[in-house]
Amino acid sequence: MRKMLAAVSRVLSGVAQKPASRVLVASRHFANDATFEIKKCDLHRLEEGPPVTTVLTREDGLKYYRMMQTVRRMELKADQLYKQKIIRGFCHLCDGQEACCVGLEAGINPTDHLITAYRAHGFTFTRGLSVREILAELTGRRGGCAKGKGGSMHMYAKNFYGGNGIVGAQVPLGAGIALACKYNGKDEVCLTLYGDGAANQGQIFEAYNMAALWKLPCIFICENNRYGMGTSVERAAASTDYYKRGDFIPGLRVDGMDILCVREATKFAAAYCRSGKGPILMELQTYRYHGHSMSDPGVSYRTREEIQEVRSKSDPIMLLKDRMVNSNLASVEELKEIDVEVRKEIEDAAQFATADPEPPLEELGYHIYCNDPPFEVRGANQWIKFKSIS
């Protein structure tokens, strides 16, 4: 009866009425919030960890759902555009890992800082850029967030330091940002992400030592998606307990497919850092559906059955959706509406990203140095000159 009423009211009143009818529906039917149990985190050098239950409000739930669905659709659209050769070069997709980027953002403030490696499209979105800017950057157009000059691996936003191509190189940078946070005294933290492959790089351990020695507010986060490109963690690491690798740095291992688990762990870690106790390490156990990059089919080192199993049992969007529907925080139709809206948003953004012009060739030499007077840069031969200004 209610559904018919809502449907009738929608039909009669057109699009503008939709929000009203939804509010009407909400106040009559949905719960405001619900309490969920989440998996206990494994702890290293910590007496207690994040709570095992958490409260999710309807508003937050819908927000997280929308964000995760946007990241998912955006990555799938990037896949499509890549196959159509509209996106070229390298493209590392993070579908399957949405709970990590959305969950981390949910646990920190916009004034906190974040730095990650090249699987960065999701983080670029959660840190505040629009899908339009991200897709336009992927297609290398002037509407892109790095003006079309950075591409997939080099996207930046306020308090988001990329987007870094060289594996592991961003971790000492993250420690440095954390030092700046401590120095500025504004109670900010820095989330420094790296993958399971990068965890074996020497500079990570150098960063651990510096952060612990100087008690920097740095949350080291290892996004363990079980494969470093094509190498499984068992074959690359003497110890796959990445949360313990910090040794003298306390650590926790988090279920990275459950957004609420990620959120609570992040809140816990951020509180730990903000209290001045020094760095902390989080391992997010997650999974990526795509291969390492678009040139990797992703099935030569793992079975399709494994991918399918993760998709059907642990998909982060599905998990959140089930929780919300089962606890009456939202209806299936409502979430479907969000899906439709997200799809449209991505479609529009892809349209823009395909139609936007490329950056003008004159700008090729810009921003090499920071210079007061502009200077000339030689091109591929001595008669081609580009002006370089900053």
């Binding site: 070229r88 070069g89 390298f90 591409g151 691996m153 080099h154 191509g165 060289i166 594996v167 592991g168 492959g197 990068a198 074996n200 790089q201 020497g202 500079q203 470093g228 490109m229 094509g230 190498t231 074959r235 690359a236 690491a237 030569s300 080192y301 060739l361 030689r378 091109g379 591929a380 031969n381 001595q382 008669w383 081609i384 000159k385």
Partner: protein, 363 residues
């Protein structure tokens, strides 16, 4: 194509200028206005699309090494590694993802053939890989390390420059890591951008104690790689990644060596010496053909092959004959290896001074 067109333009001016006098005026800042206009016309056309262009030019089938097989560059590398592991029981191959065959398929089949204790993966740690390789080599075993892209070699730079290069010297020849060879895909590929396109040979050229080699083709690659592996000095072997599939040639199945530190004169000529290495050799060959056809300029084409120590004699001898030198490489111009060649050629007091005006073309 644009680079080739600009090149041809340069040669046109060269020819028009004649031997010495007017040509001297045209160099450097003293360009005439008309000259500049035509240059900018070239510039405008050239600026439209800067995509790398070359056509791989295979060498004729070698007859002196026995039976040959059609191979591309990565297959030639596999063949060289196969020969090495067969001949030398202490040889091991290691690097990121080499076990399944490597991201460029250079080590396909070797693990099955020689076992997992001779062909194995390392974790993601370039500094560790090279340091570990130096250790293996110091004990006398043959270490063939792979750095997945030359762009990633920089964490290992300290190990190469400070450890590998100086081991023999600082131990008074008591120890050495001469049986270390580092292989790495090198050079532009079109879509590589910042971190899959670099040509870092100039950084290593600044370091005595190591050898740096860049082949231009499958036949050259196999012979040079085998020479590097057998050479008693640590060697870095850069493989032009764009040639992995694009370059196909007849390559001998049996092992053979191409000597290091010997440049090859691919084509004789009398008007100008063109020097290049790796992929750029094929661009230069095309330019030489265009120059001959359109301008009647006879170019002598030299493939440098070994960057360090480089074959000064061959290049100087050629320049004495032609009187003009042009060096072309993909790496950035400033401090690129062409600057070393050009300054050495000009500095040679006996023969070269006075009649030479070398020009550098870099990326």
């Amino acid at each position: 194509m644009a680079a080739v067109a600009a090149f041809a333009g340069w040669l046109l001016r060269l020819r028009a200028a004649g031997a010495d006098g007017p040509w001297r005026r045209l160099c450097g800042a003293g360009l005439s206005r008309g000259f500049l206009q035509s240059a900018s016309a070239y510039g405008a056309a050239a600026q439209r699309r800067q995509v790398a262009h070359f056509t791989f030019q295979p060498d004729p089938e070698p007859v002196e090494y026995g039976q040959t097989q059609k191979m591309n560059l990565f297959q030639a590398v596999t063949s060289a590694l196969d020969n090495s592991l067969a001949k030398d029981p202490t040889a091991v191959i290691f690097g990121e993802d080499v076990a399944f065959g490597g991201v460029f398929r250079c080590t396909v089949g070797l693990r099955d053939k020689y076992g997992k204790d001779r062909v194995f993966n390392t974790p993601l740690c370039e500094q560790g890989i090279v340091g570990f390789g130096i250790g293996i080599a110091v004990t006398g075993a043959t270490a063939i390390a792979e750095i997945q892209f030359a762009d990633y070699i920089f964490p290992a730079f300290d190990q190469i420059v400070n450890e590998a290069a100086k081991y023999r010297y600082r131990s008074g020849d008591l120890f050495n890591c001469g049986s270390l060879t580092i292989r790495s895909p090198w050079g532009c590929v079109g879509h590589g951008a910042l971190y899959h396109s670099q040509s870092p040979e100039a950084f290593f050229a600044h370091c005595p104690g190591i050898k740096v080699v860049v082949p231009r083709s499958p036949f050259q690659a196999k012979g040079l790689l085998l020479s590097c592996i057998e050479d008693k000095n640590p060697c870095i072997f850069f493989e032009p990644k764009i040639l992995y599939r694009a370059a196909v040639e007849q390559v001998p199945v049996e092992p053979y060596n191409i000597p290091l530190s010997q440049a090859e004169v691919i084509q004789e000529g009398s008007d100008v010496t063109l020097v290049a290495w790796g992929t750029q050799v094929h661009v230069i060959r095309e330019v030489a053909a265009m120059a001959q056809e359109k301008l009647g300029v006879s170019c002598e084409v030299i493939d440098l092959r070994t960057i360090l120590p480089w074959d000064v004699d061959t290049v100087c001898k050629s320049v004495i004959k032609t009187g003009r030198l042009l060096v072309s490489h993909e790496a950035p111009l400033t401090g690129g290896f062409a600057s070393e060649i050009s300054s050495t050629v000009q500095a040679d007091p006996l023969e070269c001074r006075g009649s030479l005006r070398p020009s550098r073309e870099g990326a």
